[in-house]
């Protein structure tokens, strides 16, 4: 644990730490491009030069390990001139694309220019080397070779993280250019990360291209809902539109990465949403107010139970729901409806890709949560059997799919139930076949927790208020329960989680505070 002095301040750090990492920990910013905490050290941008006593030349702080007694300065005139010098050289060829470049506002060159440059260019425009712009290189990425500062992060990522090596440096000297081999585009499921790690606008997202200036975006800490891995993400939004998801660092789950499928999950918050409560009469949907939908739903369940017993009601939970919602759903099913028919399925239609990195075969964010909170696949099968045998009079179903059943199968199954109420966020076969649709807030519009495949309980935060007439899941379930005779008074997700952790053993001892921004394992889980 060496003790060293940096900018006159003494500090003790872990063995093997580099000056750059130590400075980061101590809140001292050392500018850099090629360094990335999850990639090998390249040392080629030369921005992180610092003064180290006893060394005649400036040293790159990303590759200099802190030793006992070392004396470092990052704030001298010599260092400043060096950084400005490198920046100036880097900007000789860099095209002045800012007005049309997506990276503007989160660009390494812009940021450091404002901090360390602010100089007038001394180099004439005619000295620029021109390279190919706007190349579709596959995956989710557009390449602009002219903007590239040749930091090699992309090449290292494709070599060290995905192992697919589709990009490489070609030529040499100031004609060096990164690209793909013609006809061999990016072909892995993690291409989106290239846009994140590229410090400038050389590699940008096709999907996000020209959609929004980043300084208009606000950010919420969230969890990807694309599969059971639970990659931590940032949800960037403006108003009530979600524009993109970016990975958020969590070394226990996804490091600094996420997959390409997950990146497009943001669309589910924007598209095909259920935004108004609906009651269907004679097959035709009529928009209705929450009051009437709630009243009708509660009444139908009460009537079914009175006339045919609790075993004529059923609840199908969704592994897309949060722990808080599932806790209340089970409370509703067990304490209020007292039905023996509950369950959930982790099966889903569509793409089944999985790998040994971040992509799980289970495409739901909270299957384990559903299990831990008392729902089962076996229960689901029994419930579907009861439905198909015409035993169920009132069915409460969450989500817009039923396992991996086709729309036809869903329609035929649900037609056997006189009253189907659906609580969900997006349109699909289930809400289309339901008699009552209760629109739910998406993952971007309410908070809660999910339990990923490895048992890690992680919080997600809302970005904006629910769109349209959608409401938070816990509110919907609470009100339904209360209309059926309960007297619940949960103030919000936090209080539901408090109750949850008090009564459910796997969640014992957890609180929103203890979960923080990185989550914690559920009891008994690794």
């Amino acid at each position: 644990m060496p003790t060293f002095v940096i900018n006159g301040m003494s500090a003790t750090v872990a063995d093997g730490m580099t000056i750059l990492e130590a400075a980061k920990q101590l809140g001292i910013e050392i500018p850099h491009y090629c360094y990335h905490p999850k990639l090998s050290i390249a040392g080629n941008c030369r921005m992180c030069l610092v003064e180290v006593e006893k060394f005649p030349k400036l040293q790159i702080s990303c590759n200099t390990v802190v030793t006992e007694g070392m004396v470092v300065r990052t704030d001298t005139e010599k260092v400043r001139k060096a950084v400005t010098g490198v920046l100036e050289l880097m900007l000789i060829h860099h095209p002045i694309d800012c007005p049309i470049c997506d990276q503007a506002g989160e660009c390494g060159l812009q940021s450091y220019y404002m901090k360390f440059g602010l100089h007038k260019s001394r180099f004439p425009l005619e000295d620029k080397v021109h390279k190919k712009k706007v190349q579709d290189i596959g995956g989710q990425i557009v390449l602009d070779a002219e903007r590239c500062i040749l930091c090699s992060r992309c090449v290292r990522f494709l070599r060290e993280v995905t192992g697919t090596c589709e990009m490489e440096f070609f030529d040499r000297s100031d004609h060096s250019e990164i690209s793909i081999f013609p006809g061999r585009p990016l072909s892995n499921n993690y291409t989106g990360n290239l846009a994140d790690i590229c410090p400038v606008g050389a590699l940008t997202s096709k999907d996000f291209r020209f959609k929004c200036r980043v300084w208009f975006l606000k950010t919420a800490n969230s969890i990807c809902t694309g599969c059971a891995n639970g990659c931590n993400v940032y949800a960037d939004f403006k108003g009530d539109i979600l524009y993109r998801l970016r990975p958020r660092q969590n070394d226990a789950v996804n490091k600094t990465w996420m997959c390409d499928f997950g990146r497009l999950e943001y669309r589910k918050a924007n598209e095909d949403r259920l935004l108004t409560p609906v009651i269907r009469e004679g097959g035709k949907p009529i928009a209705a107010a929450w009051e009437s939908v709630m009243y009708t739903t509660a009444m139908k369940f009460k009537d079914a139970a009175e006339a045919h017993g609790p075993e004529s009601t059923a609840v199908i939970a969704s592994p897309q729901s949060s722990n808080e919602e599932l806790f209340l759903v089970r409370k509703l099913a067990k304490e209020i409806l007292k039905t023996p028919y509950t369950g959930f399925s982790f099966r889903a239609p569509g793409d089944q890709t999985f790998d040994d990195f971040l992509i799980r075969a289970d495409k739901n964010p909270n299957s384990l949560g559903a299990q831990l909170l008392g729902f089962s696949e076996e229960g689901f099968d029994r419930t579907l059997k009861a439905v198909s045998e015409g035993k169920i009079r009132a069915l409460l179903v969450f989500g817009n799919v039923l396992a991996d059943l086709t729309e036809g199968e869903i329609v035929s199954l649900l037609s056997k139930v006189p009253f189907v109420a659906n609580v969900g966020t997006n349109d699909g076969a289930v809400p289309r076949a339901a008699h009552a649709v209760l629109p739910q807030a998406s993952f971007a519009e309410r908070g809660g927790t999910f339990t990923n495949y490895a048992g890690r309980v992680q919080r997600f935060q809302p970005g904006f208020r629910p769109r349209g007439k959608a409401r938070a899941g816990i509110e919907i379930v609470s009100e339904l329960a209360n209309r059926m005779g309960a007297a619940w008074a949960f103030a919000g997700e936090a209080s539901v989680f408090q109750a949850l952790s008090a009564s459910e053993e796997p969640f014992a001892g957890l609180s929103y505070e203890s979960l923080g921004e990185q989550g914690r394992p559920a009891g008994g889980a690794k």
């Binding site: 697919t164 090596c165 589709e166 990009m167 490489e168 440096f169 070609f170 030529d171 040499r172 690209s179 793909i180 081999f181 013609p182 061999r184």
Partner: protein, 157 residues
């Protein structure tokens, strides 16, 4: 339109691979071999060598385009590379380059229409004491004069 090594070349590659603890080290010799076998390092040659050694074409392209001796485009039957570095320049290389350029009717970087000659300017060839120097394919020609160059180029088969 793919290419493949002859049996001789394949055997040479085997011998090459046995010299190194890591097959990656065979990339430079394999590209020399490919250039010899296919005349130049074409896109197909890149893909072929990549497949042979188990690397992506991008990786092989990165190596092939770094080094000047691998021709990614076809060159003439005789690649005339005249050194234009300091010692050769001090001894008149500029004039000789102009002379060859006029004689062949092409500028440095170009190939004669009949595909016979490609003219290039080279950096230091490591024979400064006998400047001016040029390399034609594998052979060095030193202490050049206009007459010597004429005699050499005219006398090529």
């Amino acid at each position: 339109m793919s290419v493949a090594f002859s049996d001789t070349a394949r055997r040479e590659l085997e011998a090459i691979l046995s010299r190194y603890p890591d097959k990656e080290a065979a990339i430079l010799p394999a590209l020399h071999l490919a250039q010899r076998e296919f005349g130049y390092v074409s896109d197909e040659a890149i893909v072929y060598v990549a497949g042979l050694l188990g690397f992506t074409p991008a990786r092989i392209e990165g190596v092939a385009t770094f080094y000047t001796m691998y021709n990614r485009k076809p060159v003439g039957r005789y690649h005339v590379q005249v050194c234009r570095n300091i010692s050769c320049s001090l001894m008149g290389a500029e004039h000789l380059i102009e002379h060859v350029s006029k004689k062949l009717g092409i500028r440095p970087g170009e190939t004669t229409p009949d595909g016979r000659f490609t003219l290039s300017k080279a950096e230091c060839l490591g024979s400064c004491g006998t400047a001016p120097v040029m390399q034609v394919n594998d052979d060095y020609h030193e202490e050049l004069t206009e007459e010597k160059i004429d005699a050499l180029l005219d006398g090529l088969p």
